[in-house]
């Protein structure tokens, strides 16, 4: 690659062609502040709006200041980041942003986690020189999952890029003009009336609290305090490798034992594992796959664990609505089992059981409100809180997480196989399904359970597996933009797969909308995935159908896999939704 020579603050820099000033400055250990800029190469999320203007620098020969985040270096360029003119302009931009931003940092959702707050602190802003009117827009709390507060929006437009270009859901665009500009759904529609799938990726990239999850912490505290209730909790596969980040543990570190201990200390009566539900999902889904294959049913089968992805297909691909597996998602399965199997086994009134799910996901908050996901008049799951919300509860409760002893999940919904752990990352669900389907179809033991071709951050992945001489073709997509491409090809008859896994969030649940903010650091996300594969590798049981407690569940309670009772409790249906 040809090199570009320039100077930054007088220091000679040799940079690659196509590099921005921001990146070139890093070579000589200069950090130029940025706010709207976000470049997550691996998932094709490039926000280059140059709208916040906090990265302005002087470039010799240029009339005005240059946005360092969007200005590529050229040969002989002379950049200065340290002149009074540049420093003053950058400072003023932050002051101007603050002049139209609520000053409720102390009670803000993103307090100590806000990139605007951070930059204001770093630049040492003590006074806002240009005070004036502040925006006062309608806040949108219409959905169960996503809260919009346009007053906190700094118009970085990252959410727009994420929603429109990466996820291709297309909810957000800037509307109105000038000072009145806000980023909003079309026609100012309330979120609940849009085709938003609540993937929450917008909350992951939002630098402030303009987009956050709807918090259910208060509800959880309330049920925990009610002695009449039997409050049980379950934890999604991915959160055991992300929770430790808050406590300065290395990214991807498995904190399952501490997590269980912490939840017990919060006062949950039982701590169950969503992984158990994942193993049940695989058993049901693999069975459904084999049935369809045998009976000439519609191919490919699509996984249906991800509620965002389910809502996406309901809005966007009505023609394909009958191809996802009818299996409920793992936490819903665990939810219904806790109110039936567990309740009966331990003689607890199911009406008194409250199931709380700790999820990496915002869409799960919406999923639990879907009318069809009830049994015996009871919701399968009552409340969902995100990893971030759990961290909030733990700190409120004063739990010293890092030094907790390791504890075990409760029976009978606590044991899981390695196949369930990898549900939290892209490719994991299909890999888990393959392990089981292979053994069932061939009646042979699968010796190498690792399917490497479906792992990793590529947006679209393919694999083909020889099962009984038949080439079973597998497709994997993560990120809804990639999913759309794959589905379009299927719709047009250009792609032929037997089974497909789709996860709405880039990277899968480890990068879910409810996970700790990664601030654009994709290496963190990769470390989380590696953590899950490490847990899987370390387990003796790595195939869902070998989970002894799952076997027991069918034997004692459900009967046949894919049988009548299993269908009644573990399966659901989908519906075509309006495209707005």
């Amino acid at each position: 690659m040809s090199k570009i020579h320039l100077t930054i603050n007088g220091l000679p820099v040799e940079a690659d062609k196509g590099m921005t000033i921001v990146d070139a400055a890093k070579i000589v250990n200069i950090t130029i502040p940025t706010l709207c800029h976000l470049n997550i190469h691996d998932i094709k999320m490039v926000n280059r709006t140059a709208s916040c203007r906090v990265c302005l620098v002087e470039v010799k020969g240029r009339r005005n200041l240059a946005p360092a985040c969007a200005t590529e270096v050229v040969e002989g360029m002379e950049v200065r980041t340290d002149t009074l003119r540049a420093v003053k302009a950058r400072r003023t931009m932050v002051e101007l942003l603050l002049s139209d931003h609520p000053t409720d940092c102390l009670v803000c959702e993103r307090n100590q986690n806000c990139q605007l707050q951070k930059i204001a602190a770093e630049l040492g802003i003590r006074k806002i020189k240009y005070e004036g009117v502040r925006s006062n827009h309608t806040k949108d709390s219409t959905s169960d999952a996503l809260y919009r507060n346009p007053d906190k929006c700094i118009k970085c437009r990252r959410c727009e890029t994420m929603c429109n270009e990466v996820q291709t859901v297309g909810i957000y665009s800037a509307v109105q003009k000038g000072f009145e500009t806000i980023v909003s759904p079309a026609f100012g529609l309330p979120m609940v009336d849009t085709q938003c799938v609540y993937c929450g990726q917008c909350t992951q990239v939002c630098p402030t609290a303009a987009l956050t999850e709807v918090s259910h912490i208060a509800k959880v505290w309330e049920v925990l305090a009610d002695e009449d209730l039997h409050v049980v909790v379950q934890t999604a596969p991915s959160i055991r490798v992300t929770l430790g980040e808050k406590y300065d543990m290395p990214p991807g570190e498995d904190v399952t034992g501490k997590m269980v201990a912490a939840l017990r200390r919060l006062g949950f009566d039982k701590v169950f594992d969503t992984n158990f539900g994942a193993d049940v999902t695989i058993v049901e889904e693999a069975n459904e796959f084999i049935e369809r294959l045998k009976n000439g049913g519609r191919m490919p089968i699509l996984t249906s664990c991800c509620p965002s992805w389910v809502k996406f297909i309901e809005h966007q691909f009505p023609n394909l609505i009958d191809i996802p597996s009818s299996c409920k998602s793992p936490h819903m399965i665990l939810g219904v089992l806790s109110k039936t199997y567990y309740a009966e086994k331990y003689n607890i009134d199911p009406k008194k059981i409250i199931m709380v799910s700790i999820m990496p996901c915002i869409a799960k908050k919406y999923e639990v409100t879907r009318e069809e996901l009830t049994n015996n008049g009871l919701r399968n799951v009552d409340h969902v809180i995100t990893t971030r919300e759990l961290i909030g509860m733990l700190s409120e409760a004063g739990i010293d997480f890092k030094n907790l002893p390791d504890e075990e999940f409760d029976n009978p919904l606590g044991i899981s196989t390695g196949a369930a752990d990898i549900f939290g990352t892209t490719g994991g669900v299909i890999e888990a399904a393959l392990r089981t389907a292979y053994e069932w179809m061939t009646d042979r033991e699968l010796e190498n359970v690792d399917f490497h071709s479906v792992r990793g951050m590529d947006g679209l992945k393919e694999a083909s597996v020889d099962i009984n001489g038949m080439e079973v073709k597998i497709g994997v997509a993560h990120g809804l933009g990639n999913a759309r491409e794959l589905l379009k090809a299927i719709e047009k008859g250009q792609a032929h797969y037997h089974a497909i896994e789709i996860m709405a969030c880039p990277g899968g649940c480890i990068d879910g909308g409810g996970q700790p903010y990664h601030m654009g650091d994709i290496e963190l996300v990769k470390a989380r995935a590696a953590g899950l594969y490490k847990i899987d590798k370390g387990k003796t049981l790595r195939k869902s159908h070998t989970n002894p407690d799952v076997i027991k569940l069918y034997k004692e309670y459900l009967g046949e896999i894919g049988g009548h009772r299993a269908h009644e409790l573990l399966h659901t249906h989908f519906k075509v939704r309006e495209k707005i």
């Binding site: 709208s51 302009a89 240009y130 009117v133 118009k155």
Partner: protein, 597 residues
């Protein structure tokens, strides 16, 4: 224009239409028929003559008589007197205000004397809805010449040598722009005509499109040939219905005659033109915002580079020129680069169209050679200041420009001289202000416009200009401090430095230039809580001059607050504390005894 005894050109531009020229045309047509003259008299609805102040305009050829302020009633008189009896209707001639002499011929009028019409050459001369009339005045000859006698490189070279610079405001050399677009490697290239004229008071582009749409179409095709584009877009604001209508007619006629579309004039060159309507957002005049808008996106600018010449419409190299720029192209090709370059100043060649508005006698459209002084434009062509008031300043460049005062009126205007004195050429809006205008208020007015029209993308403009406007409002309300003046200056400079696009970068110009030339007015507002021009209501107080007051009591009767006191036939007094400065007393006083202070 055929075998008629007489051509009657009636202005059908938007300005004259607003003064009822459509009725004039109808009446005239009826009366001509009634007089049995329809075979002798050719009634033509033309584009704008420019002299909007005196509209509706009717011009008679070959007699060369120029009637002004024609009404439907007087139109009937023209038919009876002029057409039937051959007698000029003296009452309808333009009267030169100084000599009070009636002038028959257009070229004798001060308004037209110093004009040189290149871009406006056909406006007021031909029927814009008839392609044959355009062809009769050498229309489509330049295109023919380019296609048959010149290579694309030669066309570019000719335009480069002419020294033509972008008339939309930036003043970038047009030929160079064409060349850059041609040199960008791509499968396709596009031409865009920027007809998103949005400066308050500006109507140059509208008048060209209404009066001579083919001149733009022809030039776009030539540009297409030069840069290697097969299609072009005209981005025009939907608020220009007449221009849109005439463009539509012109495009259809050009297609019908094989002057647009496939294999133009039997050559290999094909060129299509599409119309795209803008919703009237000022910021869409910015090239990248305009491209976003054509593509169906939000009309907001993106970071440059890359420039549209490299990555433009649908990511292809795109050449964008403004309407007036295109209107200059055909004469350059027909008469040669040298001819064009002989007009104007060293660095700004040719002419420039200005929309003269504000407190000037002859409001209208003028086209003068570059290098004409502002004094000539305002006082000779413009006929001086209305109501004999004193000239105070002229704003050029619209909301992006600055004000120019008496001391700089003699500077020959071109792109560079205007920039030097803190203003800019802009697209050619020229608003004249007199002693009754408050310059702080003027700055506030322009800023209000840009704040309202900003796209809201970047912090500097979205929040910064809003804050500037707030500070100005505070000052005009008498609540400003000297510290505010400092903040105003500082922030203006930072916004210029920091905004993403031209709109934001130039928005503080009216503030900075009024501060530079009218600092004392700012100080008066801030320190003395006094508006010298008596415009800022919050700072207005009325006062009765005892020597002039006859004690007629009329003012006490109209004062809504009842705060004027005094006995009959004795001098009255206004309670200044309570006065709300409504001005009712001033309006009714017959003795001029009430003044603002």
């Amino acid at each position: 224009m055929g075998s008629y005894r007489m051509d009657v050109l009636v202005c059908g531009g938007t300005g004259c239409q607003a003064s009822n020229s459509i009725d004039v045309i109808e009446t005239m047509s009826k009366e001509i028929k009634a007089a049995g003259l329809e075979k002798e008299i050719n009634l033509v609805t033309t584009g704008c003559f420019g002299f909007c102040e005196q509209g509706p305009i009717v011009k008679i050829q070959p007699d060369n008589v120029f009637y002004v302020k024609v009404t439907p009633e007087s139109a009937a008189v023209i038919v009876k007197e002029h057409f039937v009896k051959g007698r000029v209707v003296k009452e309808l001639l333009y009267e030169e205000p100084k000599t009070r002499k009636k002038l028959e011929e257009q070229s004798d009028m001060p308004f037209y004397k110093k004009q040189e019409r290149i871009a406006l050459r056909n406006c007021g001369l031909i029927d814009p809805e008839n392609i044959n009339e355009y062809i009769a005045v050498d229309g489509y000859q330049a295109l023919g010449k380019a296609l048959s006698e010149m290579t694309p490189e030669q066309v570019i070279d000719e335009v480069k040598r002419s020294g033509l610079r972008g008339r939309g405001g930036g003043g970038f050399p047009t030929g160079t722009k064409w060349e850059l677009t041609r040199m960008s490697k791509a499968d396709r290239r596009f031409i865009i005509c920027n007809a998103d004229e949005g400066d308050p008071g500006a109507f140059m582009d509208r008048s060209i499109l209404e009066g001579d749409p083919h001149s733009v179409l022809e030039a776009m095709a030539i540009a297409g040939y030069a840069i290697g584009a097969d299609s072009g877009y005209i981005y025009i604001r939907a608020e220009y219905p007449l221009a849109i209508n005439r463009l539509k007619i012109a495009v259809k006629q050009a297609y019908d005659m094989g002057l647009l579309g496939k294999n133009i004039l039997g050559t290999d060159f094909s060129f299509d033109i599409h119309l795209k309507y803008g919703a009237g957002a000022f910021v869409c005049g910015e090239e990248t915002a305009l491209i976003n808008s054509i593509e169906g996106g939000r009309g907001e600018p993106t970071v440059k580079p890359p420039f549209p010449a490299e990555v433009g419409l649908w990511k292809m190299p795109t050449n964008i020129n403004n309407v007036e720029t295109f209107a200059n192209v055909c004469p350059i090709l027909l008469r040669g680069a040298d001819w064009f370059a002989s007009i104007g100043t060293e660095k700004s060649k040719g002419t420039k169209v200005f929309a003269l508005a504000g407190k000037v006698n002859n409001v209208g459209l003028v086209e003068v050679p570059m290098g004409t002084t502002l004094r000539e434009i305002i006082f000779d062509l413009g006929g001086g200041i209305k109501n004999n008031r004193k000239f105070k300043a002229v704003q050029t460049g619209g909301p992006s420009g600055g004000c120019i005062t008496e001391e700089n009126l003699n500077i020959p205007i071109d792109y560079d001289s205007l920039t030097e004195i803190g203003s800019m050429m802009g697209s050619g809006g020229m608003i004249v202000m007199d002693e009754d205008d408050c310059m702080v208020n003027i700055a506030k007015f322009y800023l209000e416009f840009t704040v309202d029209e900003a796209c809201g993308r970047c912090t500097a403009c979205r929040v910064g200009n809003k804050r500037l406007h707030e500070i100005l409002t505070k000052i005009t309300e008498g609540k400003g401090t000297e510290e505010d003046l400092e903040r105003l200056k500082d922030l203006s400079q930072i916004i210029k430095d920091s905004s993403l696009c031209g709109l934001g970068q130039t928005a503080p110009n009216p503030v900075l230039s009024t501060m530079k030339y009218f600092w004392h007015e700012y100080l008066a507002h801030v320190n003395d809580k006094y508006c010298p021009a008596g415009v800022c209501k919050a700072l207005l107080k009325y006062h009765i001059i005892p020597e002039k007051c006859k004690g007629c009591t009329l003012c006490t009767k109209v004062c809504p607050k009842g705060i004027i006191s005094g006995k009959l036939k004795e001098a009255h007094v206004i309670n200044k504390e309570e006065c709300i400065a409504c001005g009712a007393c001033e309006q009714v006083c017959k003795f001029g005894a009430i003044t603002r202070m």
